[in-house]
Symmetry: C2
Subunit: 460 residues, 2 copies
């Protein structure tokens, strides 16, 4: 068991103590659940940070370990540490519930006292205040928790058993079932608002029916998997998840700030989103500290599935799944860009992460090579040459004009084609900055240009 340094112990202890004080105060003073959520997220950060350090050796002992191929001395480090994040996160969400509902409990309880209503023996059977309580919110929390616990189970299974890619791909859909079931029995709206230019043909609303569930299942499959394939550099899985989480919180703020006309009809959904994202940000920051260059731990598929599913849950149950997709533009690009290799149109090597040049210590684009025995189909070769000309690839061409080598089809390799060899942390930072810029632009477009497509921006 690796211990925390003295500085770490004091800092984490300090953070935890302050957060705990805030929490006690929030409970006593009947304060905003937002403060309680922040405090619990701080405690979750400190706890995750320490737990990752403490349990690393146990993970290695049980075979959850890997070597970092982009380092000169590739020592074995713990793998699948996202599991720790997921467990602390689930614990944090459960412990937040009493704070989230304290106000409602106080209200119904005091109402009962006002009426001088005495509890009778038979009330024991049915509970005291079921009818006035915001149960739909409560059900959302329950099913969100169930979905995230499920994706954690499936993540562990994926990290434990070697699963085939085509099985893994659909894992998140199973985990999303509780959420879809909730949506079906409780909410049930499968209509979408039609953009203005199409209203002439389709009317104001279109009922997508069963397709809407397919759409939600697709989002649940997409979010986790596209985080999983934008990977291979220290800190990039956690980093991109943090950027997305922070951008969603920023968008949520537009609906819940006191400066907005309150009560805004969507404020509840966005509060729900914030309450689920803050502890996620807490545990992810702790993981990032250990996973950032040079990484001391790997995050595992568990983390990617878990992070993606957190976004799918808040997007779907918070009713802003289209906005959510705007924040996934780099991931969507990476997915489409990867498609030729994922679907084996272009041969795909086992690993596509950038190549570590031990001499310079920098990362270079990794390549797939095509021998004369296994040549590329001529048509595909011509397309690759075209992509090379518009700087979307870098290919090597033999004397007779045959493509012998191409950089692998991932956004990380493409970035290295554009920006030249980079140190690992530099690459991660540049990608994250690009992602943040694209996300901010996406939000701007969503709120400014929405009026061109719809009659109202739902924010006003």
């Amino acid at each position: 068991m690796q211990d925390l340094s003295r500085t770490e112990t004091y800092s984490l202890g300090g953070v935890a103590a302050i957060c705990f004080a805030i929490l006690v105060n929030a409970w006593k003073s009947d304060g905003e659940p937002l403060f309680a959520s922040l405090a619990i997220s701080g405690i979750a950060f400190a706890f995750t940070y320490a737990l990752i350090r403490w349990t690393g050796d146990v993970f290695i002992k049980r075979g959850y370990k890997g070597r970092d191929l982009s380092k000169k001395n590739a020592v074995e480090i713990p793998e699948a540490m996202g599991l720790v994040c997921a467990l602390v996160y689930l614990l944090a969400v459960v412990n937040f519930l009493p704070f989230a509902f304290k106000h409602d409990i106080a209200e119904v309880t005091s109402a009962a006292i006002d009426k001088d209503r005495l509890l009778e023996a038979l009330d024991i059977e049915t509970g005291r205040f079921l009818h006035r309580f915001p149960l739909e919110k409560l059900a959302s929390y329950g099913f969100a928790y169930g979905t995230l616990a499920s994706v954690t189970i499936l993540g562990i299974l994926d990290d434990s058993f070697d699963m085939r890619w085509r099985h893994k791909f659909f894992i998140p859909a199973f985990a999303a079932l509780p959420m879809l079931a909730l949506y079906y029995v409780d909410f049930g709206v499968t209509h979408v608002v039609v953009p203005l230019p199409l209203r002439e043909y389709l009317g104001d609303l279109v009922d997508l029916g069963g397709f809407y569930y397919l759409y939600m299942a697709a989002i649940s499959i997409f979010c986790p998997n596209c985080i999983n394939i934008l990977a291979g550099v220290n800190g990039i899985e956690v980093g991109q998840s943090l950027v997305i989480a922070l951008l969603i919180v920023l968008n949520d703020m537009l609906y819940i700030l006191p400066t907005v006309n309150q009560p805004h009809p969507a404020a509840e959904s966005h509060l729900f989103s914030v309450y689920l994202l803050l502890p996620f940000i807490g545990v992810s920051l702790a993981l990032l500290k250990h996973n950032w260059f040079p990484a001391k731990v790997f995050v595992g598929d568990t983390y990617c599935y878990f992070a993606g599913m957190v976004f799918a849950v808040v997007g779907i149950l918070g009713h802003f799944s289209k906005t959510l997709l705007l924040l996934f533009i780099p991931q969507i690009f990476n997915f489409i860009y990867s498609a030729p290799q994922l679907f084996a149109i272009v041969p795909c090597p086992r690993h596509r992460l950038p190549r570590f040049n031990a001499r310079t210590g920098l990362l270079e684009p990794s390549v797939a090579t095509f021998t004369e025995e296994k040549p590329l189909r001529p048509l595909v070769g011509e397309v690759l040459k075209l992509l090379d000309r518009v700087k979307l690839l870098r290919v090597q061409v033999s004397e007779e004009g045959r493509v012998t080598e191409t950089t692998n089809f991932t956004i990380l390799n493409l970035w290295l084609v554009w920006r030249g060899p980079l140190r690992e942390d530099r690459l991660a930072i540049e990608i994250l900055v690009m992602q943040t810029a694209v996300g901010l632009l996406g939000l701007l477009v969503r709120h400014k240009l929405a009026l061109l497509l719809f009659t109202v921006d739902n924010r006003f």
Copy 2:
């Protein structure tokens, strides 16, 4: 991958096909959710049965394996197969939800149509019929699912990492947090009805406050652990769980049968219990078939935790936790009887399962021996001799009157002391018959004698 035999394929396929037909019919005809639950449980049985066979090799490959010490040829068989049960169970519960709420959905939807109420664009934000829906039921399902998914996660961790006994013991309490949080925010009744003889002193009702949560946490810790320690013979973990589940369903029937005065105030809770138990019975039967003597697979701690938590969930959220405890009498006896060894008053060997006599092929009581270097404390020795005299132990005494050996303190060893060497399956059957008899007696006492302690049996 081991395949199913032709007979198995046809039987399982037949069961699944019939159940699927029932399910489709239940959906179309708006039938009772009970039929849907039965059909889904049948499908869960068939699926679990096949999945255990198919995945056995994968489990062995990944190190989840063990040797059966009570067999002449102790080959390695898969361990932790309860995980398959838990996963299929969770899937079954989610897929049951639309059936459970179909009637309510139809009602609120048709009400909306009656009023000729057109869906407007802004309704998309808030959903269509949140106010008339039995959301408290829905929340219960969500949190029950969350609790059971959590206990599955912790069971996997326990089976994957070697955890210390004193850590393991409290695992279920963590998993139970979602359920306790639900109870806190939603139901909140912490009063208990006082038995008649004590009313003079305490009044009709006593508010246990925080202690009630401790009581519920204790039940969540107790149920899983006491199934975990009544173990060590093929089929006994699954067998005892099945007996308990069937007895609870029997008790539930007393409240929901049409012959009872309907609507009974507790009918909803007991229906909830039945809906959660039927798929449990389905997956457990499939596991029992593989785990019964001679066992082809082991069930793992995952199963014991999972089974115990299913009982804790239905008992607590169904509001019959005291009745539940009546069905755990053999386990409670085993726990108390084991206590001297669990708490190290009497030295406890690593394994306490009955000893296999390879010559006779029968099981005999296993023993703990006390050498002259590590003798038993004299007082403890005297107590053991006393217990031997009332046939609650069998001890060996040396010439100078020192206790040198005692049978281990488990109900299985005690049964062997009473009934002599038995074959493994015979021992399991006798224990299960005894458990069923004790449980039926417990239910009889609960419903017949309740009137002596309380003013009403809540069944009438």
